[in-house]
């Protein structure tokens, strides 16, 4: 059995596995955070009530259209293909070589943003209409209503979906090996190339992916519980006035 081989490969190559895992995690974390922010912004714009007339109507209509195209494109094409188009497209059209890690973060962010935008839109639409009305009734404008009242509820509601995106991103960064980002999958392939073994290095790597995704899932679950708030409250006996 190859357990001995596996151990041997790991002992000789662990810095590469570790560096690959680190880069995978780094790209996924930053990509998910930026993606979630993009998703929130896009979701807010797309759920802004369109006024019946005026310049604001035109601006909103046009931006809605553009955002629909953005979401449609990134959800409708494989990330691997997007990576090739963006990375080599920029390289050939502008003659500049972008840093591969930045390119990777950019692609993951913009992809996550497209998915999150839909999740955020659903999240905003599922908030009770009474919350908007109560906010408007005390004179809050749309932006304040969103920031103070609606988005905190939306964020709480979309946290599980965001965690899900994070886990998907940890796995999907493997596709970025097509633009030679030195993430875990790329590193494993190099190790496989230099040791002439495929089974063992990739088995090790599958464990590393599993550890990362399970840990992230666990941490997010704890975070969700924290956000839900305490089950009890303290009575205040004496209040100042």
């Amino acid at each position: 059995m190859s357990f001995e081989v596996m151990k041997d490969i790991f002992i000789k190559n662990w810095p590469f596995f570790l560096r690959g895992a680190g880069i995978t995690l780094w790209i996924s974390i930053i990509g998910t955070i930026i993606g979630a922010i993009i998703g929130l912004l896009v979701g807010v714009v797309r759920t802004t009530p369109i006024p019946e007339s005026g310049a604001k109507r035109t601006v909103l209509k046009v931006s809605d259209r553009l955002l629909d195209m953005y979401i449609g494109f990134f959800r409708g094409t494989p990330m691997m293909v997007q990576a090739m188009v963006i990375y080599y497209g920029v390289a050939s059209q502008f003659g500049v070589e972008i840093n591969r890690i930045y390119a990777a973060i950019f692609i993951v962010s913009i992809n996550t943003g497209a998915y999150m935008a839909e999740i955020v839109r659903g999240g905003i639409n599922s908030v009770d209409k009474g919350q908007f009305e109560a906010a408007h009734a005390i004179g809050m404008n749309h932006v304040t209503t969103m920031k103070e009242i609606i988005l905190p509820q939306v964020i709480r509601n979309i946290l599980p979906a965001t965690g899900n995106e994070f886990v998907v991103n940890i796995k999907d960064t493997s596709m970025l090996s097509v633009i030679s980002v030195t993430e875990l999958f790329f590193q494993t392939r190099s190790i496989a190339g230099s040791t002439f073994r495929f089974y063992e290095p990739f088995l090790i790597t599958s464990f590393i992916y599993l550890i990362m995704t399970l840990t992230v899932t666990k941490i997010l679950r704890m975070f969700e519980d924290r956000l839900a708030g305490s089950k009890t409250y303290d009575m205040v006996e004496e209040t100042m006035e």
Binding site: D128, E148, G229, V236, E241
Partner: protein, 244 residues
Amino acid sequence: MEKIIDINHLKKSYGENEVLKDIDFYVNKGEVVSIIGSSGSGKSTLLRCINLLERPNGGEIIYRGENVLNSRQDINKYRTHLGMVFQNFNLFNTLNVLENCTVGQIKVLKKGKEEAKEIALHNLKIVGMEKYINARPEQLSGGQKQRVAIARALSMEPDVLLFDEPTSALDPETIGEVLKVMKELAKTGITMILVTHEMEFARDVSDRVIFMDNGVIREEGTPEQIFNNPKEERTKEFLKRFLA
């Protein structure tokens, strides 16, 4: 008498459905006006048009001499002068009781945190909820939620309080505690417009009662006039059904 709100020829339709047909309505400073009428007669729509949660299709709403339907008017500023209490409370879910009463003061009226807290506590005391400032809405009973909602509205220090069936979503046991608070408020001289199915209460607290029917104001007068000597057939029918 100073009219705080003066509404003329107000119209509102949803598609073909004409819900408010040429409504003339006013409320004087310090007055308590109750709006009664059968379901679907347009009571809520009128109230929601007053603070522009619904956009009227025609007519004017004069507040302090200005028509708020005029497009140059700052709707959000106008709304800070009206406090709204909803049937379903609509407390802000993610904020605790105190924050529910301060968020508008801080974010809309731009008051300092300390001042906002002081005003909030004062109003929470009025409704008897000052001990619950750390509780979140989901931890309160219906009656408690509605009392906090009243404190939230009061904390904006509005000129007029609007109530849309504030006790309709409550258990019979907790209706009393909310009505008691509202009765106390009515005595303080604050201007109130109240949509209600609580006829006893309306008779008790109102200076004037308005009977709405099918999108028009069918009859209005003092509580004695409306409840004891209604003139219109429709009013009599309605009251017979309700007071039976």
